[in-house]
Symmetry: D3
Subunit: 290 residues, 6 copies
């Protein structure tokens, strides 16, 4: 179970509220690279963790719990960036509003609204929401918790790699010193979290523990295709040489090679449509309308 502290994990300050930056920050809340995703992903991995390694369950709970605080920081930052957003499209009314006139150095209010998520105005009362920067709600199909510990650790590296890439892009786009400061912290945490999941992968055996899942007897797979790069260039040209075209495989269990892909199967033949299946009569091979 869980507890809260009303204070934030790290200070959130905004000197010059910017509704467009509020929109961009939404990607870090409800985007697929964002914090709701990692928070729920680490929680569901922890809650479903099976096996003797309860240490990973414990570790996941620590970090999942930290991530709630990151959503909180970002949601606070969005609300602060929206504080002076125009509420009207009427130029005259807006001009009469000194708060709005201060928005973004004299920008016309109408233009500010054009760049906003309209739901920030219409649905939230100038606050954050669990959507991405283009207004698409987060959907939980992005919560990866496969029941395979190694697969999950790679999913977590991916989440933090795309997450830090996003945080860096936001840092570069930002102009407010408070926002840059907040993002410098979040970038650092993403650095650690990348390291953390990679360290767990090393503990689990690293490359030698591949392929994932390692509980399947490789004698049951078609091993003549397990380390072969299949080329599909219509001219038969192989791919440019790479670590994956020759030499020992990463797991040390095979040798990479290259082969042009060719059909091993035949043209598939499905049975005809069945009586009563709603197909056209021609597909069934019967007279129409009977």
């Amino acid at each position: 179970m869980y507890y809260h502290d009303k204070r934030l994990q790290y200070p959130v300050r905004v000197e010059t509220p910017d509704p467009l930056f509020a929109r961009q920050l939404q990607q870090a809340i409800g985007g697929v690279e964002g914090e709701i995703r990692v928070c729920l992903q680490y929680f569901f991995q922890a809650w479903g963790a099976r096996g003797p390694h309860t240490k990973y369950r414990d570790m996941l709970l620590h970090t999942a719990t930290e991530e709630i605080g990151h959503i909180e920081m970002l949601a606070t930052a969005v609300a602060m960036n929206l504080e002076t957003a125009p509420l009207t499209l009427q130029e005259s009314a807006a001009e009469a509003n000194p708060v709005v006139n201060a928005v973004m150095g004299g920008e016309r209010p109408r233009h500010v609204v054009e760049g906003m998520l309209q739901r920030h105005l219409l649905s939230t009362g100038l606050a954050a929401m669990p959507t991405n920067a283009d207004g698409v709600p987060f959907d939980c199909s992005h919560v990866y918790a496969s029941g395979n510990l190694a697969a999950d650790m790679y999913a977590n590296v991916t989440a933090e790699a795309t997450g830090r890439t996003l945080a860096v892009r936001l840092y570069n786009a930002a102009h407010d010193p408070g926002m840059k400061d907040m993002l410098s912290f979040l970038v650092a945490r993403d650095t650690m979290h990348q390291q953390q999941w990679l360290a767990a992968i090393e503990e689990l055996g690293g490359a030698a523990a591949l392929p994932i899942p390692n509980s399947f007897d490789q004698a049951m797979e078609r091993q003549d295709f397990s380390y072969v790069f299949l080329g599909t260039d219509v001219t038969g040209a192989p791919p440019p040489e790479g670590r994956y075209t020759a030499g020992p495989s990463m797991d040390g269990k095979g040798q990479f090679s290259v082969l042009q892909n060719t059909p091993l199967g035949e043209v598939p033949v499905l049975g005809p449509a069945r009586e009563g299946s709603g197909a056209q009569a021609e597909q069934i091979g019967k007279p129409a309308g009977r």
Copy 2:
């Protein structure tokens, strides 16, 4: 641009059609671990590839093109497994149908229908569709193409790790020798594809090239938090020791340590609700109804 061959990449045979297995195979077509996802993911990564490394664009095109053929094999397998599915809930009619009676060793037709995706009966004429095994359509938010090559390679490892885990589970669930044979091939291809993306990561510098993105000057992040595991256990108990709690970091640029998480920020204070923002009068600090 692209070409097709009417033959399949690998033979697809079904001796005993099983509508429930058709349902399970859908996960490998339209599930987040499935083939539509990797196919589109590799294509979009290729089509958006920037930078001098055109070799990765080329490589991605080879493998993306191979994946179309995997969707094709699985779609064929689903259609074959549905060939004898009951079309009616009427026991008597079904009993009179020798095709249906042959389904799954005397199973009552009604029970067979209960375990099916209803849209296999009602929407497709007994064929595959781009949904997962519980009927949820694939949505393309799962196509990861971040513009960061290293992040994308980890996303690809993840896709193939969860993909091979799925293929192994399907292999274990399958009872038809044709299906086991087809899956033994797909498992092998997933083995190779895991290797391939990890090989690309090694080429790109491996752990030494971390953190992702490596084009951001780490001096700009709060480096005192870049290699620190933050604990959130309310008792202050640190996580069990692991590779990530002490010792050199994976990228060789820091030392792991553990710290109990504490608030560095204050209780956030948002501005009051603004006049005209649709809040309750109390939130604005004005009399109601004015």
Copy 3:
């Protein structure tokens, strides 16, 4: 604006309630081939109808309004089919319930529940919901109203063609005489609606009015590709002969021909990744970590 009559457009009777058939009927309510879709599609086409042909706006309103009544009939049918659904998984409790024991000729209650949409039990109190037969909610991206009258009419033919196919499949699956009677009416209405939209297409000029939109000067398209079937078989084998491989085109404005597809473009070259774009340093061509 709109009015209602509490009576149904056509009688809905269920002699033997069947929760599995209730599930199947959901496809006709909230499936992409279903009635919510056509209802909203015709309404949005009507509400956005532009141009001198107000007759189509009028016609669409008639039929859209009829479709509300079809959703109502189907929703009623779902509720009636759910009336005796088991509420518990406990065999003993269920056995003690004569209502439940009457379900589907002695079927074990637990099996009945296995084939149900669980939300029929858990979310609706045994009533219809706006989802398809596998529980996926209808989403309004399926409402086609393109602003092009001819395109919309074809969209409507499609909706009624897949709709009647679905209604026929439900008729074939049904065992209850009341349900068969209701579906015989809905199938007939789908017959008419197919006819109706095709009649409108004829009025709009039929094939001679193609291509859609006919307000674009064809001199501005690459007309050397306007009536050419492009083959993509890697062997260069053309498609089997058909109406579309030779002879006059359907619109009478060209001659069909067949050509093997070949690249007219070059290998695309994108600019390198830009500084600050979050790519790997290698993609930008700068040292890492700066």
Copy 4:
């Protein structure tokens, strides 16, 4: 920010694992009536709370944090109910597996699988996921945080009313004493949470503070329609009498009355389709193909 305790808020015990009940429990995790929804809803309301009433922000944080623990309990219960789920469709293999044979008192394994969410087998390694009981992922558009405190409190009452209804249905469906015990606790918490939000509404003025939002001057609305029940029965029959057809309105600001709805507007006339808008030529009033 947040902390965790590894122990559960309330004991979770399962004597007889049941994969079908695991499926039903998913509705309480990822359904619209479920715990992810209330958890995120209360958090986003707290994080966006504006106005002098910081007490509501504080209150919301307490309860949102409690709800994380409810998701955790339910996720644990799902994993426990899946422990003996069959992994194969092969009857013979299943028969040889004593664990599987113990499932649900001799049920054939194949039948057990038919009633399961397939992703419990294929995607999670027998653990919970953030979807509803029919496999649809939770999407965060269901997080209501409107910026209007009173509207949000009613949204919370609704969430807990549908939530307790769901919990009661699960209690009734359950057969395991451990599950009944856990649900008796969750039902009680939903009782409290209904009370809590209604108490907040009373504090905010109750009915006298209506309509929501109360910051809009009612002189600006068409008050002749503010307390009128508009009838749409085509026969002109009014609705059966109710508290809402006559007498003082709930807010004490008007008198209820009943009126038959009639059009106050005219037939709408939109402008013709514009040149270049992609309509048919007839809609634009120009010759085709120009």
Copy 5:
């Protein structure tokens, strides 16, 4: 079944078309606070209404039918606001178009397009669509019809409370007198509908009929937790005092109290991963690769 009148329920006039306001109006059509939602919600509640109170079924049909007319008014308003929207990004072409030059007092056409929903230009021919103001299609999971009459009435109050809040925000944002007039009517109808559902709740017993559902014997819930506010502040600080922290509960069946949340359960222990479940070998406790 249903009938239509070609005239609108209330006049819709637009003097100065504004594509940005067209975008904002979409929230009232296809947003979660919008009219499609309430329309379908009231219909599905009516069509599934069970029990002796047929009066509520009747009442719901009246209001659901009214709501169709509201969607129609708003869709008409969107089309009218789009009438002069630029169709091109070419400044020169736009400058040559006097209609476009009249848009919004000399605004550059390109800027107008930047603030639009692109699908208004590209997908609809300048008409309304069933999406929200950020382009997300309405999805019917938002249709609440729980089978519990009281829960549904609260859901309806919520819908009309957020709906009126939205209508007020649109009124405040609007600059066109025709639009303000139309919205003054819709705001009034939302006032009535809030009243109507609250009146129904009073009829059903009001607070005394709580908790919802009232058909569950409260002796079966853990009543020691039914009226207790559980605090989760890590410092143990209780929430600020409120109506919900002490005194009689709203339903008169208990006394509110406050308690610090503490774990009553233990650390959960799941069984190990099973052979064949696709986990890593370590999770199963077997050697890798077997």
Copy 6:
């Protein structure tokens, strides 16, 4: 199976990159009228094709394969249009960047960003993604493959009719000569594809083969309603005369007529709510709280 050629099907050139046009092009990639949709639709129709007419399977494979190349062209065009997009909201930094200053003839960078899909900046590194022009990801429920050949052909006509309408709108909006050239090719291909599916419909019997599906004996439908236009105007006014109100039906099997819609059914009566179904006690007809 499939092969690729690294060259594009048709040249893609961009002289003046325009991030707003990049956004508009997304509709042709991931919109419901776009190329991912037709590509997957034709593939799934081919892979599920049943019946003696293998020629249609073959034809579908040719065209589906061509469509992959169209997605590729458009994705390339999006990336090229994004090449000079601003990465920052900081006016000063942007002004110092000559690349950005060249954007769209002196446009302020901030304005350019306001009109962009934010995910083009934040999620893709300036490349295409599988979403529509308002950022909504493509979801595969739009892949129509009904198992009925004629219904599918109409679905394909619809897809190409809305697709060509979209391509024409993009052509009209475009200002870059390279983009106009690319679109002139895509418009031409849509012309052909409309023709192709209509030619297939003619081969399948055209109007005489209606209604779809033609494998259902029309004697089983309520034929007295099969060719009747049902009017729903509350005044009883019939629709304006049209091809569908009188004369022979399109399929030559009936005569069109017009009839005012009237209820043939009665007011529906559902059974009362059941004990244990979670309804209010009043709905069950029992005392509350028992």
